[in-house]
Subunit: 111 residues, 2 copies
DNA sequence: AATACCACTATCTTTTAGGATACTATAATG
DNA sequence: CATTATAGTATCCTAAAAGATAGTGGTATT
């Protein structure tokens, strides 16, 4: 593997981490993997997040085409957040992360 | 899925992101997936990282048992960084991240 | 013996992320 | 009609992450 190719990999990794990294982004995505949700529903799921941070992260994820905000069909005038097709393509990755996390915690318990 | 279980997932995701998130951590791990490396070798691979940041991240990863620093067997008095068994268990995840990153970039190019 | 490379350390500054807290306009509910 | 819930906004603040730059002590090379 040449040096140039390695740099590309580094960039690939960093690009993805920009999208799903940080304290909340992949938690939000994980929560939306389960089902589409409204703002306050997400807020409750995430526990300690403040509205300012949540809206900021949602806008970021929306800008990056991973989620989409739409009018709820069920109750008019309610907004609902859901994953886009592109966002759903991240689901296996999120699942892998959650699974590795569980394994990691087990390992720490047994060592 | 009950609310409690969801919070656990959120924590799982956040735990893993603490380990591999941020600008450099998974880039370093990705680079070490390829092969074990010395400090300056890593520095070159990562391009723009400063020594202060690199050593900080290496120490963090070492503390979390994902990498290990050892005396090089080849050249005495040289230090070499390599993944631990636990760190290697992250490799499929890193590979998935890199692959999704490539796909993501392609998608952005075609839209 | 001089130079260059290796693996850091130290200091200072900027940038960013994230949190605390309070507030608001609209809609729904009892 | 009063209360509660929804979906945010606005302002201020702190801590942590990251970068720029310089320096150091040891080793290897020529």
């Amino acid at each position: 593997m040449k040096n140039k190719e390695k740099h590309v990999n580094v960039r690939d990794v960093q690009d993805v981490l920009d999208l799903i990294g940080g304290r909340w982004k992949s938690a939000i995505l994980a929560s939306l993997c389960d089902k589409e949700k409204r703002f306050n529903e997400l807020k409750r799921d995430l526990g300690t997040i403040t509205p300012k941070i949540l809206i900021k992260e949602l806008k970021f994820l929306e800008m990056n085409k991973l989620i989409h905000k739409a009018d709820s069909l069920a109750v008019s005038s309610f907004q609902i957040y859901h994953l886009t097709a592109h966002g759903r393509s991240l689901e296996p990755l999120i699942v892998s992360i959650v699974m590795w996390g569980k394994k990691h915690r087990e390992m720490l318990n047994y060592s």
